[in-house]
Each structure stands twice: as structure tokens, then as C-alpha cells.
């Protein structure tokens, strides 16, 4: 793709911010990203704002203009984006395309979500959808995959739990993660059963939060040393063919393969991954789709420490969704913030050594046993 670089990032700590509004959190993330990029509001040519739930929870919509007005950004094109869990990473995809198309030189992406409200319940893929009406809640879809993966490949409950244990260990070094205390395999397995075999600590918690990044064309990059190159930005949708193989999303494999092709690299070139560990089983399936290990080998891969900091390819050095929490509209942007931080060498105690290539992966929505959306973005310095 035409050169696009990330020149600024900002993130608000994820957690329960009962006293903060969605607009306030989004504006703070935007402010931090602008300051990090050394930009004034007039230096931004276009903006994308992602949010997943405000229309349902608060009756609010077209929020991006409100958020951006708070940081002096107006008049320019502002687009509001909803694409389930990939809302933020889809907004980023659109921003990159806008730069590549020559429609803008500098674009800001802001993702924000406020979802810690009473009686939130469980996320589903849409109230009126067939599966939702038949009891499909998000953890059930993943539990059904875990059951098959355990059956077909011998993946164990302990291996599933190890994803949560590893990500909590990583989160200890991440000041914006919601949960930073270590947990043991036993604690994960003994936490309340949500949907068999997934216990509470294997399901990402909800959170309020916001994140922002600024992308720019090469001519608009001032600080080359801290700029991080976008090597691929890929968005794809499910095929929804029947029957689906529950141990792999074709969408996931196709998205990862396309991104590697666009970036001209392979799995062995990746220094670190931020992936959509909405549930422990998700991360195991994504190892396989990303080609970090073979199909069915995800359980032993985490057990042997290959995805830990210090391992072959650290996955979710931020602590992932399992530790950070999952403010739906902010997550896809927060993953990119982490990858950029790692590639800049600014990640402190959770820094991946010699980080050269980073990958941000996200998936969202469920339809006909398939995923509605998958994004795979590759970055390098």
C-alpha cells in the first residue's frame, strides 16, 4: 500500500469510569494522540470515530462530531463507524485508505465506549437475529468452538486457562489495563462457570475506555524516528457457508493470509501480536489462523510459553482484552496503540525485545456460525 504512518497515539486507562462520559473519554484520547503527534487541530484533514453500543445503551448516535469538537476539530469530514468488536480497527482501515487514496494527508481515528452500566448483560450479535433469539450470547459461540477444539485436538481446560494466566502476567506491566493482578491456572478454572467450559476469568470483562491514533501520508510526518509504518490494513467479512468448521474461522485464516501477502512477510517475521482474545479459546484459534503454530496446536503453543513475553512471539503483551477489558468501540484502536508503543520501544517492563514487526488482529460479530468481521493490520518500524 502507499506509505501510511502512525504518528500519534493516545489512550485512556480502561476500567469502570462511572463518573466519566463517553464524549469526555473520547476527547481525552484524541487530545493525547494529537499531543503525541505534535499536531494542532487544524492539522487534521479527516476523522473516523468508532463506537459499538451507545445507540443501544444511551440512545446516542453520530457521536464523533461531539468528541472531535471538544478538541477543536470541525468542518472536516467526520465519519462514525460501527462494525461490532472491529469498530475501531475498521475505522483505522478506513483512515489508512483515505490517506492512500490521496483524499487526506492526516487522519485521526478515535474509538470510545461506555458500557459499565447496570444490567448490561451479555453481548449478542443483534437483538432480532435468529441465533440471538435462540439463546446465542457471545460466550456461547466461543464455548461451542472450545468444545470442538478439545474434542478434535485434545486441547485441555488447563491450556485454555493458561491464556488467561499469561495475559494477566503481561498486564502487570500495562498501566492502562483494568486487571493487573496475577492469577493462577487453578484460580482461572475455579472461577464461576459462565458457559461450559469457559469460566469467568476466561471471558473478557466489560470496560469503559477510549483510544486514538493519528495516521499520515509520508509528506506529513514530522518526527520520522517515532513514526511507525503501516505495512497492511485488511478488513474482511465471513463467507457464511454451511456447514462451518467450528475449530477455525475461514474468515480469520483468509484475513491473516491476505495481510501477510500485502505486507510481503510471513508469520516467522512477526515480533509481537495483539489479538482478539475475547475468550481464552479465541486466542488459541487465532494463533493457528495467524500461522504462529499449526492447526490444532494452539493449546501446546501457549502451554510451552511460545506466546509469553520472552517467548517465540509474544501475544497480547498489553494483557489483551482478558486483562484490559473490552470497551467494544475502543478495543480495535487500543490494540494498535499497543503495537505502536512496542515498535517505538516505549513499552517499559512489558517491552518485547527487538520489536520490528507488530500485528494487530481483531474479530467481531457472529452470523451463521461465522464471524461478521475480521481485521488484520501489520506495522513495522
Amino acid at each position: 500500500m502507499t506509505d501510511v504512518k502512525v504518528i500519534g497515539t493516545g489512550i485512556v486507562p480502561f476500567g469502570k469510569h462511572l463518573e466519566r462520559t463517553l464524549v469526555e473519554m473520547g476527547a481525552e484520547a484524541a487530545f493525547l494522540a494529537l499531543r503525541d503527534a505534535g499536531l494542532s487541530p487544524s492539522g487534521v484533514d479527516a476523522a473516523f470515530f468508532s463506537n459499538g453500543l451507545a445507540s443501544r445503551l444511551f440512545g446516542d448516535q453520530t457521536i464523533g462530531q461531539n468528541v472531535l469538537w471538544e478538541v477543536g476539530i470541525h468542518r472536516i469530514p467526520v465519519v462514525n463507524v460501527e462494525n461490532a468488536c472491529t469498530s475501531g480497527s475498521t475505522a483505522f482501515y478506513l483512515a489508512c485508505n483515505m490517506v492512500t487514496a490521496g483524499q487526506a494527508e492526516t487522519v485521526i481515528v478515535v474509538g470510545a465506549e461506555k458500557m459499565c452500566v447496570p444490567e448490561f448483560g451479555l453481548i449478542n450479535s443483534g437483538e432480532t437475529e435468529i441465533d440471538t433469539q435462540l439463546g446465542m450470547v457471545a460466550p456461547a459461540g466461543f464455548a461451542l468452538r472450545a468444545v470442538r477444539h478439545m474434542h478434535e485436538f485434545g486441547t485441555t481446560r488447563e491450556q485454555l486457562a493458561r491464556v488467561a494466566v499469561k495475559n494477566r502476567r503481561h498486564a502487570a506491566g500495562n498501566p492502562v489495563a483494568q486487571y493487573r493482578d496475577p492469577v493462577s491456572v487453578d484460580e482461572v478454572l475455579e472461577s464461576p462457570m459462565i458457559v461450559d467450559p469457559l469460566t469467568r476469568f476466561q471471558c473478557c470483562p466489560i470496560a469503559d475506555g477510549a483510544a486514538a491514533v493519528v495516521v499520515a501520508a509520508p509528506g506529513a510526518v514530522r518526527d520520522q524516528a517515532r513514526a511507525v509504518r503501516v505495512d497492511a490494513a485488511v478488513l474482511c467479512t465471513g463467507n457464511y457457508e454451511n456447514p462451518q468448521d467450528l475449530t477455525k474461522w475461514e474468515t480469520d485464516y483468509r484475513g491473516c493470509r491476505t495481510a501477510y501477502e500485502k505486507a510481503g512477510i510471513g508469520p516467522a517475521d512477526v515480533s509481537l501480536v495483539e489479538c482478539h482474545d475475547a475468550f481464552t479459546i479465541s486466542e488459541i484459534l487465532h494463533y493457528e489462523a495467524l500461522g504462529l503454530c499449526g492447526p490444532g496446536e494452539g493449546g501446546p503453543f501457549v502451554e510451552e510459553g511460545h506466546s509469553s513475553l520472552g517467548g517465540r512471539v509474544p501475544v497480547n503483551p498489553s494483557g489483551g482484552l482478558l486483562s484490559r477489558g473490552h470497551p467494544v468501540g475502543a478495543t480495535g484502536v487500543a490494540q494498535i496503540v499497543e503495537v505502536v508503543s512496542q515498535l517505538r520501544g516505549e513499552s517499559g517492563s512489558r517491552q518485547v525485545e527487538n520489536a520490528r514487526v507488530g500485528l494487530a488482529h481483531c474479530m467481531g460479530g457472529d452470523k451463521a456460525g461465522d464471524s461478521k468481521s475480521c481485521t488484520v493490520h501489520i506495522f513495522s518500524r
Binding site: 437483538e127 433469539q133 435462540l134 460466550p139 458457559v195 461450559d196 467450528l246
Partner: protein, 149 residues
Amino acid sequence: MNEQSKSTTIQPVNPGTFTVPGDADIPPEVLGGYCRACRKLYYPRPRYCPFCLDAVERREVGGRGTVHSFTVVRTKPPLGLPQPYCVGYVDLDASGLRVFGLLDPDRVEDVELGTRVRLTVRRMGHDGRGEARLRPCFTPDERAEGEES
């Protein structure tokens, strides 16, 4: 509970996605779609065939099958479903289609991968606003292999 509910006042969820047994006591089936031109079966039914864009007609795609995967949802249930409730994917004999659905919450201990199941339609939960609804629900099929109903 009377699983073959004859109630005319209780409406089904997802109208047009399963047959509701009438007085003839014909076993319920999942309703998918069929494209005459492509001779292809679909579930769920798209409005138009993804290959030729012909209209896709409703077609029974089966009421008996095998459990491909299942799980028990133990958290607070949505839509007034029982706590806990059971869901899974069932591979339908008649079409080979893999469909997501509810499994009998009273028979959880009798379900494992490969369990033979048949579709029932029963009063279960509500529409999200408290109004009772009929839902399709697979239950273990005690009938011997190959035996006709």
C-alpha cells in the same frame, strides 16, 4: 411441559425458520431455503441465491440430526430462557446443514457430542418484552436408528 404446544395465541420466534406443528402432529422441522435453479439448500435462508440471485424459497431442511457441539449457559439467561439453558450446533440428517439451536434444558445430562436429537417446538422464554414465545428446541431422540416416525 406440553412440548407440542397447540396454542394459537403464543407466537413463534423467528417466524418462517421452523414449522410449528398443527393438528396433524407432523414432526416440526427447521425451515431453510432452496434455490431451484442451483438446486442448493441454505440455512439460514437468504432472500436471493448467492450464486444466481434467483428468489430462494422456504424449504424444510430436517428435524432430526446429531449434536456437533453443545454447551450449557449458566449465567443469567436472556429472553426469559431457563437457567441454565443448553445450546448447540446440530447436523441435520436430511440436508447435512449445521444449525444453531436450543437443546432441551431438562435433558442436559443426556446430551454429548454425537447424541441423536429431534426437533420439538415448545413454549420457552419471551420476546424480550415479556410476551411468551414458541421456540424450536432439540431433544434427545430415543427412536432407534433407521426407524420411521
